[in-house]
Amino acid sequence: MAVASVISKESGLSRRSFLRVSATAAGGLIVSLYLDSSLLAQPKPPAKIYPPDAFVHIKSDGGIIIQVNRLEFGQGVQTSLPMVLADEMDADWSRVVAELAPAADVYKDPVFGIQMVGGSGSIAHSFQQYRELGAKTRAMLVAAASEKWQVRPEQCRTEDSVVHGPGGQSATYASLAEAAAHIRVPENVPLKNPRDFRLIGKDTRRLDGRAKCDGSLKFGLDLDLPGMKVALVAHPPVFGGSPKTLDDKQARSMPGVVDIFEIPTLRKGTAVAVVADKFWTAKQARDRLQVDWELTGLGKPDTTQLSQDYRKIAATPGNVAVSRGDLKALETSNPADQIVAEYEFPYLAHTPMEPLNTTVRFDGDRAEVWAPSQFQTFDQMAVAEVLGLTPDRVTFHTEMAGGGFGRRAVPDSHVQREAAVIAKRLQGTPVKLIWTREDDVQGGYYRPMYVHRVEIAVGPDGLPAAWRHVIVGQSIVADTPFAAMLIKNGVDETVVEGIADTHYEIENFHVSAHQPTVNVPVLWWRSVGNTHTAFVMETLVDELAARAKSDPIVYRRKLLNPEGKNLIAVLDLMDEKSAGWRKNLSQGHAVGVACHECFGTSVACAVDVSIENQRPKVHRATVAVDCGRAVNPLTVESQFQAGMSFGLSQIVPRGAITFKDGYVEQNNFDGYTPPYIADAPTAVDVHIVPSDAAPSGCGEPPVPVISPAVANALSHLTGKRYRSLPLTVL
């Protein structure tokens, strides 16, 4: 999400923090980090009690448990943040175990001020934090050893969880843990010279790799508690609907059904919850509900109609995001020297492989929640609100998530609210709410549908002399807590990001946006606005290059301004690494390129594409990345390889959510189909620009570049331009 910079600017959150330590009963050392400021720079908040083992726990057997202050859902942070801490701590990596931290103030993102994953900010925001935590822990262990040996700390060195003294003494961290717990936490400790990193910058396999390959890892959906019940919910077929009549006689008569009742759901609608002993019972009971839905007066979205409406609106200027220079060239130039292009993008569902779920047990004066959540702070508050508790009475466990891509970061916490309402009724019983795949595909919170209209006057030099750009589509942040920060001059920044802040030098540039209200809940989808803006920008720049009879890489270099220097670096690296295969393309193949910067990371890619069975076949992709210092290059490579496939979700033929008369027309993976192995690139080679700069994220930046690169290759093969996604017909 593009939330990062904005929140940090407005919150003025201090990054100062201090550590507190305590000894454990078992003789271990516990290091806690306390932030001295909380969200939005409120005046000194009263001291709070945090879980004692906040970040590091050195066990007496030498095991080191490191808490990860955010959700792991594939992006690899559950390995890379422990690497950062363990490196500064000189911990024995083979003994490090990572745990996902529960919801607590101490685990809030140091920049966002809430506990969350988003905006590709995990490493970017917590790199320094985890380095300092590791260095302070190490310093305390060294101090304990030097006290014991009566030597100066500087005379000691550390390696693999052992302190070595000047006279050949040595002591394991485990043996020093209890003494170290009594040492005062140092305020400032020197961090390693990057030259001395032992883990940071080294290919490191995931800590959760084995457990995800032998079936032992428990995801949120795998939770099993004594006496637990399962809840499914029948949602209204149009957002905001309610049961007019409900006949649940047949459903209630099924053995194993515990209760059936109405609950509030999103857009002020009412749904029907079915609670049973098992999933299959709940599913069958839900199928037997006879509900006549009241749908009158509701907005009934129809994507065919929306397409016509949006295209009409796009012909008029909207709220202004960028206005510089003038558009005279568009008035004066010959139509033959202009490009007028209309693009259309559909609603997209996230469909993480693990269906949405949350388990809640309400005990009257407190509650416990187990949720694969990207937004722990919001979700904990939402459950507390529903149950009439303060958030500190709600213990919130972060469960490992099977993907998310933004879908588990919903500002209104609607899944957790449903789970809490159900648990409230069944006080004392843990209830696991499961959204089936059908619920997920039809349940809203999609990447919005967008239309772009772009008019470009092409100058005699082949470069854009004037550029008018209108974007039409729902705001993602309207009516959320993010609105005040992200809506400027009536423009949702997440709608225009990737265009408004382009590094292409366009002197005469006008960007505006219309944000209609539609009865469809929308949300950020991995890389947010860049999903569509990069497609428009990168296919148009390619078209401009073709008109100028220029090589598309050379043309991009020429059009980029000095602020795009990282893009030039990745273009150069991609150019170099792909030169060999680009020169030796097979018959019927073409190259497509694209580059894009988002979330502080610059990416360029080249793809080798042919047409097979009227579909693009991506034989290989070469990707170059500048993400600052790559903490775990293996994760960066993996994110970019797989992110290419994720990005192709946008062009696969069934890659659209459509509406007719208010109803979603798809309901599972047969109608809304992300890429399978044959749709994905056969090979992807990833190259990282060496850098000492602060690390930036790699979760979202892989996504935007691949679709425009493939579309550009197709244009070279067919001579057509592709402006509507998904690519249903070639």
């Binding site: 959906l221 099993d224 999933f279 993480p352 089936t436 795949r437 993996s638 994720f646 992300p674």
Partner: protein, 154 residues
């Protein structure tokens, strides 16, 4: 409700469930073996893949009443098999997983592939693994891990 005798990973099990209950939910909720995943319930994603009498099968659409005496092998038991262990090891050494949710099914499909075609081509992989969805998109590394396991088993 009816009683069924099953052989899961070589062990005898008995469950008392509605005959329409899919094998997937018997494994997950009756036998508490949650390594086999629910992803779609319509045989479109492959996250629930198990081996039924050695054949890679979508357990989400097989009612327990149709299992009969056929032995069931799940992700929890596939490591006992030489090919299964080789595939799991290759998955770990190639660092295939991201979110990991689909990987039980991917591994079960890959083991079945290597048992029928020890030296698969790209086309064999696309045909055999073609219905196993990975939303993270780890396909490039899946291909590589299959090749690694294939070489190890040769």
């Amino acid at each position: 409700m009816q009683t069924y005798k099953l052989t899961v990973n070589g062990q005898s099990k008995e469950v008392n469930v509605d005959p329409s209950t899919p094998l997937l939910w018997v494994l997950r909720e009756e036998l508490k073996m949650t390594g086999t995943k629910y992803g779609c319930g319509i045989s479109a994603c492959g996250a629930c893949t198990v081996h039924l009498a050695g054949i890679a099968t979508r357990s989400c659409v097989v009612p327990i009443s149709l299992v009969g005496g056929r032995p069931i092998v799940t992700i929890e038991g596939i490591g006992e098999d030489r090919a299964g262990r080789a595939v799991q090891d290759a998955w770990v050494s190639e660092d295939v997983v991201q979110c990991g949710y689909c990987q039980s099914g991917q591994i079960m499909a890959a083991v079945a592939l290597l048992k029928s075609i020890p030296k698969p081509t790209d086309a064999n992989i696309e045909a055999s693994m073609g219905g196993n969805l990975c939303r993270c998109g780890t396909y490039v590394r899946i291909r590589k891990a299959i090749m690694t396991a294939s070489q190890k088993l040769a």
